[in-house]
């Protein structure tokens, strides 16, 4: 395990993570399709997961990997709920464009 890090270097993992996270952020901010927004959020989540695993190996400490398992389990639950919401939004509005979701206006 240590070899891989030696060959590639921790900083590359960090760059990749940051890149993925930024892609996610911009995806969330620019896209109007709710499913794409949703996928972008997943990308951000996984960017963080990647960072966790990388540091876990770097520090020779399994705790970070354990944490990732939890975060993946939670992400799975979140996806299930989120998609269910999207389905019912689609049934009600006939579209999943987030600009149409203005019912929560105060």
């Amino acid at each position: 395990m240590g070899n891989i890090l030696n060959e590639i270097g921790i900083e590359n993992y960090i760059f990749l993570s940051v890149l993925l996270f930024c892609i996610g952020v911009f995806g969330v901010l620019y896209r109007r399709n709710a499913i794409i927004v949703f996928m972008s959020i997943e990308i951000m989540l996984n960017a963080v997961n990647l960072l966790f695993v990388a540091f876990s190996t770097y520090h020779q400490d399994a705790e970070g990997q354990v944490f990732v398992f939890f975060s993946m389990a939670v992400a799975a639950a979140e996806v299930a709920v989120g998609l269910a919401i999207l389905v019912s939004v689609f049934r009600n509005l006939g579209s999943i464009d987030i600009d149409n979701l203005k019912n929560l206006k105060g």
Binding site: L29, V37, I98
Partner: protein, 627 residues
Amino acid sequence: MDTNLALLLLLSPFVGFLFNIFLGKKVSRGVSGTIGTLTVVVSFLLSVCFFAQLNQNGKPFEISLFDWIQVNNFKLDFGILLDQLSLLWLLFVTGIGSLIHMYSISYMHDDENMHKFFAYLNLFVFFMITLVVGSNLLVMFIGWEGVGLCSYLLIGFWYKNQDYNDAAKKAFIMNRIGDLGLLIGVFILALNLDTINFIDLKSGVSSLDKVGGNQALQWAALCLFIGATGKSAQIPLYTWLPDAMAGPTPVSALIHAATMVTAGIFMVTRMNFLFDLTPNVQHIIAVVGAITALVAASIGLLQNDIKKVLAYSTVSQLGLMFLALGLGAYTVAVFHVITHAFFKACLFLGSGSVIHGLHGEQDMRKMGGLRKAMPITFWTMMISTLAIAGIFPFAGFWSKDEILMTAFHENKVLWVVASIASIMTAFYMFRLMYLTFFREFRGTEEQKHHLHESPSLITIPLVILAILATIGGAINFPGSNWLNHFLEPILVGKHEEHHLGTTEYMLMGVALVGALVGIALAYSKYIKQAFVPKPDAEIEGLSKTIYNKFYVDEIYTAIIVKPINAISNFFRTTLEPALGKIVFSFGTVAYGIASQGRKLQNGNIGLYLFVFVLGICAIITYLFIAQ
């Protein structure tokens, strides 16, 4: 074993209450009434057992059920004390209670809520037993409040009539005023003595008196007496009792004649060691009692509602008992309580029988001539009337005579007042009898047609009570004085027995002649001159004042109720809106701020997300800068 029996004695009516309140609707009326009655009979039989045991070995029976309150030095058990006084009370509470339950089975058989009636009656008996057997003032207070509650429930039993509801509320509120007094008295004692257990109080009070705590004791005694005036209907808190006649007649008999109203006398007798040390308060008690006896008797002279007459006579008799208490003659008061319970329960049940026979008519102007139609009711009521009037040899003669004798020895003025009250009693009671049972029937033809003697469930209790009213005096004949000796252990003060001398015989003679004069006056007015009280509108002059109860209710309304109403109105129409404006102005400001903030919630998810990311960036930046 004894503990279990004592608990059964206490809880049996409560079981009856639970049964009737939860299951009463499902079973038939007869079953509901029978179970209600049986649970009280069980208590009565157990009381008799305990009484026999106590009479044999003379040892009071005391148990502590559990530690109740423990604060600093102040410790309190939840305990039961069965001594001479409480057993005596138990006997007639449960005994007369059983008879009245039995009577109610028949009296209430048409009522759709009969199970509720029995539930309340049972609950009442339970609380009355609690009141009597409590080993300290606080347990007694539970019962004290409980009987007040049941009184409220039962007076307002026919809740569809608003007048009855008002009477119930009046009784409850009047009682609450007294209860507050009682509670303050208990607090004063607890504060000064660190105990409110009767047995500890007995020694505590006298030692406190020796170290100069008499002032506190006087206040305590006065407050306790205020409590007694509420429950036992003395001036100034007596006005609820006559109105309480709104309840069904068995309730009037049970609560407002035989048991609950004697709670005040019970309490004062229980605390006799305290009252003996405070002669000033005793003096107040005696005077209040005598005035109450006189005022109530004079109001009773002109009432036309059969139950109202009896109600005022109850107030008047209670006044006589308080007179005896105030003069330190506790056994005499207890004696009169017992005989009064017999004949007054009988009178009320008899009047109930009359009302039952006339299908709800209570106005004596529309009665008359019932002697032939209702012979058993007539004779039992006649006996009780002779007893209450103080005619030899019925029970009331002995007890009332003892009170008069005591008053004669202690204070001649009070004796005169009490004697006048007794003469009035004889007059209005015979007025009641003459108007109800003699001469011609004055009601409608239809009522006349339906006149009938009441069924045996009603007449049997009447007969039993009439027998007791005849021979009840035997428990304390001058000379044998069984009651005096029996109560000796619970009394600390001086102990008087009237030795029968010439004076005593003369006093008896005077009392008897007075009663006969009262009867003769009633006879000449209502039989010979065949006088029937006028309709309400034609009454005038002094009679009108008396007929309207000296306008006491109106005076109370004017000086207490009206000002309170005025203050409430002021608060409601002026103060509350003003305060409300201040409070609402906070709300308005908050609303204004919120409506600005609301604009941010424009429903544009893109914006939300943007702000959200911006926020995260800001936090991260801040964290970096902070480090």
